[in-house]
């Protein structure tokens, strides 16, 4: 008696798709803007570029202000959002992130408030320093958050996703700084835009080529794939425009900044969407695992 081979159970997904809505990829964007902007503000401040420091600080506050509500709306029980601070768990990037944000948000706001009002300058400097240190954590932990799931397109990309997210965060923070700062003072933002976009595009390519072919699909085809292509086009054009016409003309700088933000936002939505498509595909879960088992040559499973 030899049963004919059937793969999967009536083609049903093995995994459950994330229940998160668009608020989450939006938060990846706003959190990235907030985190990278704080670091940019601090460095610009150290170098005495007050104009750039000021616009980056305000961008950070805007990012923080948008992030809070986005995170709360997405909870199934928004009234219980404070339960996030009930425990501290290193095995949960969401717990780590909640604590980091709890420290980062007041730092970002205090730094900007002190800068704008000119009050308590010493406290303002400490807050700006704290924001600069915590900012990169805020911009990166979200990549670990999605990678730390069973979803193949996220989990298996855990090496590249942090670089993708950081590049995307740098590009968007630089883009906003270019929009909000006179061309003469925005040189560091333009250079950061170039580096951020390069990191974003490079990490995406690296991820696509390293992933198992059963897993990489969503990043290349379908809706997530189309979002990724649009993201790439926006980021690349924005970066090139930033360091060419953007160096001289304000209008070009604003266009470049907007394109960089659009690219970053599309990147987040592409990754998010790829995760949902990956969870729905039983082959993405089963095939690599089956090859692993067969490779080990053990009986058991």
């Amino acid at each position: 008696m030899r049963p004919t081979k059937v793969t999967g159970y009536y083609g049903r997904p093995v995994l459950k798709a994330p229940v998160w809505k668009s608020a989450i990829p939006l938060y990846f964007f706003t959190g990235g803007v907030a985190g990278a902007s704080s670091t940019l503000a601090f460095a610009a401040g150290l170098r005495g570029n007050r104009r750039l420091a000021r616009s980056a600080m305000l961008a950070s506050v805007a990012g923080v202000a948008a992030s809070g509500p986005l995170l709360v709306i997405d909870l199934g029980k928004p009234s219980r959002f404070l339960n996030m601070l009930r425990v501290a768990k290193p095995t949960s990037p969401m717990s780590v992130g909640s604590w980091v944000l709890t420290a980062f948000a007041p730092a970002s706001m205090a730094a900007a408030a002190s800068d704008v009002t000119g009050r308590l300058p010493r406290l303002g400097r400490v807050a700006a320093g704290a924001g600069a240190v915590l900012g990169p954590v805020v911009a990166t932990y979200t990549a670990v958050l999605v990678a730390n799931t069973a979803i193949p397109a996220w989990h298996d990309a855990h090496r590249e996703l942090p670089f993708l997210f950081v590049g995307s965060a740098a590009a968007s923070a630089a883009g906003i700084a270019m929009i909000a700062t006179p061309v003469a003072d925005a040189g560091p933002a333009r250079r950061l835009a170039m580096m951020g976009a390069a990191l974003e595009l490079g990490a995406f390519r690296a991820m696509e080529s390293r992933l198992d072919e059963a897993v990489a699909g969503p990043y290349m085809h379908g809706r997530a794939g189309r979002l990724a292509k649009a993201a790439e086009a926006c980021s690349a054009t924005g970066a090139v425009l930033a360091v060419t016409a953007g160096r001289r003309r304000r209008r070009a700088a604003v266009t470049a900044g907007a394109l960089l933000c659009a690219g970053s936002l599309l990147t987040r939505f592409s990754v998010f969407r790829a995760g949902i498509e990956s969870a729905a595909d039983p082959a993405a879960t089963i095939d690599p695992q089956r090859r692993r088992v067969d490779g080990r040559g053990t009986v058991g499973a």
């Binding site: 049903r12 029980k77 928004p78 003072d185």
Partner: protein, 267 residues
């Protein structure tokens, strides 16, 4: 092995051994679970997948009986036909439970019976456990925003009763007891089946060295796990977490470096 997040006083680990070779597909377990735990209905869809209109485990289905119809040929009789595989699926109550490890509120916890349970008065519906589970077990109940799954009848266990599904199973396909005893019994049963010529019989989740440290609710299957919709080599995602944080640290430093380089000149 005791789990770091385990209870302070170690007790005997309790679990399920689901022996699918004697499952008759009666779904008494599905019904008993719903009745005892007051689980709401999950819609009445016609799925056209054999006798299974439940589909899979969900927030509102904590036991699910899979029906696999496999075309087979029986050369001795010169006939073609089908064979039935039936299996009652349930939360695996993993030794290293991803749902519990990623839960940011501590709503998911390990009980004194070494089972994994959601405290409904704490869950804030963040949804992180849902994509973390390598088996697609835990899910959000849309009507209330929180996540739900098998509790291994925590309330019954505390009253020295066996879980509702095991109690209702007429063939003892679902067996409840101390995990050590169940594993010994399962090994014996596997030996007997192999001896009787059932070469494809295998235990699923009885091995403590697997990617989730073994299941508290394990199975005897008659085919590959994926045939039943189960992942063949599940791994708790947090196993790779140190590597992920290292990559993130590298990325964070890259950001600092890029900002520093960008600001090397003042304007």
């Amino acid at each position: 092995m005791r789990h770091p997040a385990g209870p302070a006083t170690p007790m005997t680990r309790m679990g399920f051994f689901t022996d699918t070779s004697i499952c008759i597909g009666c779904k008494a377990c599905e019904v008993a679970c719903k009745e005892w735990n007051d689980v709401p209905d999950d819609g009445f869809d016609f799925l056209a997948t054999s006798y299974d209109n439940t589909g899979g485990l969900s927030a509102d289905t904590w036991r699910h009986v899979a029906f696999v119809e496999q075309p087979v040929s029986v050369p001795a009789l010169g006939e073609n036909g089908i064979r039935w595989l039936m299996s009652s699926d349930v939360c695996k109550h993993c030794t290293h439970a991803a749902c519990l490890e990623v839960c940011p509120t501590g709503a998911l916890f390990r009980t004194e019976f070494d089972t994994v349970v959601v405290q409904q008065d704490i869950c804030n519906g963040c949804g992180y456990c849902v994509p973390a589970c390598p088996f697609g077990v835990i899910d959000e109940r849309e009507s209330d925003g929180r996540v739900w799954k098998c509790t291994l009848c925590y309330d019954r266990l505390k009253s020295d009763l066996e879980p509702a599904c095991a109690k209702a199973c007429p063939t003892k396909s679902i067996q409840f007891g101390p995990l050590d005893e169940l594993r010994a019994r399962a090994a014996g049963r596997l030996g007997a089946l192999r001896e009787a010529g059932v070469a494809d019989a295998r235990l699923y989740g009885a091995d403590e060295t697997d990617g989730v440290g073994g299941f508290g609710a394990f199975f005897l299957l008659l085919d590959k796990p994926e045939v039943y919709g189960l992942p063949p080599d599940p791994v708790v995602t947090t196993r790779d977490l140190p590597r992920m944080w290292r990559a993130a640290a590298g990325a964070a430093l890259a950001l600092v470096g890029a900002v520093a380089a960008a600001c090397a000149r003042q304007r």
